[in-house]
């Protein structure tokens, strides 16, 4: 349904060009929840903002690539055409609901605005629709709540309102940029439950951006791991935690204690910090922090290797010339397991 091909986005700044997104490709199927994970500065937000058509600022430039939504290229659309798509076929939910909602406008009115823009419903029909949607996202007393202002809502409730606005026109694709990061865990569980319900009941496709691998495991079907502007690994969720195909993903999984981690075990961090995107390394962006780095990694950006069916990794270790190593040994081990 959504296809992103070889996307390159740069920011022009006084300090030079920042290569925020480099050669990013992935696709999202109908009714699929896809998670994008990565640290701050990995380009995950820029990627989805480009998809949502929010990257037309003066210093951002889309160098290369295309974004196909149901076969049409969003990047070639005129402003007017794009407006039709935005909000109806595809909508976005942001991280911080306090700054994304208009503080001087009643919540019901803000939801109604989106319906007014995209449908021909009459005023009273729109009012009814607002109440239905508020109910759908689990807000008690919708009639009363629609007449209130954002500051009268709690953080979790405001995030529900954001989702309500996004749902107003039954979008096929919902992009949620860290929708639960600002929330407490018990409220996060409620919101994730709501998102999963949408996907199950309305077959909505969802792109979920997060930095929490636990959230990924519980909600998504497919994961895209980004690092320094590049997609380093793409895999089905049940695959990636058992058999990560990239040293960065492996490092992330190892560095997190989970509830069952033994206290006497020492955490295994990824040493160092992410590269400077003004002058990214000529080779693999992860090379300086990778414990398996080889000479080739310093000079050449690794291509995507298909490690397994639908499991891609940008790592030279999967090249046959790398010989038997940690990663492909892993794979063979598993095959013998299956026999």
């Amino acid at each position: 349904m959504l296809e992103v091909n070889h996307l390159d986005v740069v920011f022009r700044t006084y300090g030079g060009e920042v290569k925020a997104v480099r050669d990013v490709s992935f696709h999202v199927d109908h009714g699929e929840i896809v998670a994008i994970v990565g640290e701050s500065g990995s380009g995950k937000s820029v990627t989805v903002k480009t998809i949502a058509g929010l990257m037309q600022s003066e210093n951002a430039e889309i160098r290369n690539g295309n974004v196909l939504l149901n076969g049409t290229d969003l990047l070639k659309m005129t402003e007017k055409e794009l407006r039709k798509v935005k909000g109806s076929t595809m909508t976005m939910v942001f991280q911080d609901s306090m700054t994304s909602l208009n503080p001087t406008m009643k919540v019901g009115k803000q939801i109604e605005e989106s319906i007014k823009e995209h449908t021909g419903l009459s005023k009273s029909e729109r009012k009814d629709k607002v109440i239905t949607i508020l109910k759908q996202v689990g807000i008690p007393n919708p009639e009363l709540r629609a007449e209130q202002y954002p500051h009268e809502f709690s953080g979790g409730m405001r995030q529900r309102v954001m989702i309500a606005i996004a749902l107003a026109c039954n979008p096929e694709l919902l992009i949620a940029d860290e929708p639960t990061t600002a929330l407490d865990v018990t409220i996060q569980a409620q919101i994730l439950d709501l998102l999963k319900g949408l996907q199950a009941n309305y077959n909505t496709s969802i792109i979920l951006i997060t930095h929490d691998l636990g959230v990924v495991a519980e909600t998504a079907k497919k994961v895209i791991v980004m690092y320094a502007g590049m997609v380093v690994e793409k895999a089905p969720v049940d695959q990636i935690f058992k058999h990560p195909g990239h040293p960065y993903t492996e490092g992330l999984i190892n560095s997190m204690p989970d509830v069952s981690t033994d206290k006497n075990e020492r955490l295994i961090p990824i040493e160092g910090s992410p590269p400077d995107l003004f002058s990214p390394p000529t080779g693999c962006p992860f090379v300086s922090r990778c414990k398996y780095a080889m000479e080739v990694c310093e000079h050449h950006i690794p291509p995507e290797f298909e490690v397994k069916y639908n499991h891609f990794s940008r790592c030279w270790l999967h090249d046959e010339r790398a010989g038997v190593n940690h990663f492909n040994a892993n794979k063979e081990g598993e095959e013998t397991d299956q026999k």
Binding site: A217, I240, K263
Partner: protein
């Protein structure tokens, strides 16, 4: 790799004891927010005591009251067997040096116009611990200990990454050779791959400098990993205190149960069919200005009874070293 923990716990010496501590923030003439309401607990020397709770539970306020950043409304804080307020003169200075705090956001807790040398030496200067060359040497040594390159001594905070800035915050706290450190969400502003680096640093420093930590956080898996004992706060009250393993394996309080079951877990990806038994709490935490009568959790509690409305549950030792404030465990 195995780390040997400081085996001081056997001594069971209470380095810090908090008794019936209250911190109210008046909103107007009649009402006040009871951010910390009648809280009692203790921290043993050499242990890490984790304090968890959601936003608004009062955990940060509690940390600030203990370090003396804000005064308590009522109650006692006993440090090394003596009331904190009763220390005078040089003794008071020593205690102020021994209790240090590390903050959540290294971006806003470091003065952007000061060089690293002066930031880390702030405590050394305030307590007149070293001057001139000795002062610089002390900063050098501290920087090395927290894994910062001492060549960066003349740089400004903005020239460092988030993880490095948190190391500066830690260096500033340990430069004065403290005994007790209150760390308020020290890793929540950091990226996942950096968090483990900082946690390992905390563990190393604890061993090398024989520190005691009060570790405030909302990330339960991290708290379980780093703490010996954990206290769970909800709306100004401590609901449950237990040894870290006990709290997770033998959870007593319904709120703690809900909190633990809400942690998103990597394991669930491997068995998607399995029902994870998640307890979804209804609604939001109540307004702290008007908390419910009786137990503060009762409106969201799946097991609430009549008595929960009428009586505030008191802390009792339901099992050995496992304290809980819940009417379900009345004997």
């Amino acid at each position: 790799m195995q780390i040997k923990r400081v085996k001081k716990l056997t001594k069971n010496k209470k380095i810090l004891e908090v008794k019936n501590l209250k911190k109210y923030f008046p909103q107007n003439k009649t009402e006040s927010v009871k951010a910390v309401d009648d809280v009692s607990f203790h921290v043993l020397e050499g242990e890490t005591f984790g304090l968890v709770g959601e936003s608004g539970s009062g955990k940060s306020t509690l940390g600030k009251v203990i370090t003396g950043i804000i005064p308590a409304t009522e109650g006692e804080i006993i440090y090394n067997g003596q009331l904190l307020d009763s220390y005078k003169g040089n003794e008071k200075k020593r205690v102020n040096r021994e209790i240090q705090m590390i903050f959540q956001d290294p971006q806003s807790s470091l003065n952007p116009r000061m060089r690293i040398l002066d930031i880390i030496a702030e405590g050394i200067d305030a307590h007149k611990l070293a001057l001139g060359k000795k002062r610089k040497e002390a900063v050098y040594a501290t920087m090395q200990q927290v894994g910062l390159n001492p060549d960066f001594i003349k740089r400004y905070p903005r020239e460092f990454s988030g993880g490095q800035r948190q190391r500066i915050g830690i260096a500033r706290a340990i430069a004065v050779d403290p005994k007790f450190i209150v760390a308020d969400e020290p890793i929540s502003a950091l990226d996942v791959s950096i968090q483990a680096q900082v946690i390992n640093l905390f563990e190393d420093l604890k061993k090398e400098n024989e520190l005691t930590y009060l570790f405030i956080a909302h990330d339960l898996s991290m708290v379980k990993y780093i703490s010996d004992r954990v206290g769970v706060m909800y709306l100004g009250k401590i609901m449950e205190i237990a040894k870290s393993e006990d709290l997770f394996e033998n959870t007593l309080h319904p709120y703690t149960k809900a909190l633990i079951s809400a942690i998103p877990n990597i394991e669930s990806a491997n068995n998607p069919k399995k029902e994870n038994g998640r307890i979804l709490l209804e609604g939001d935490p109540p307004n702290p200005l008007h908390p419910p009568s009786g137990c503060r959790f009762r409106k969201r509690c799946p097991l609430a009874m009549d008595i929960c409305k009428e009586q505030v549950p008191q802390m009792r030792e339901a099992e050995k070293d496992h304290w809980v404030a819940c009417h379900l465990y009345n004997k």
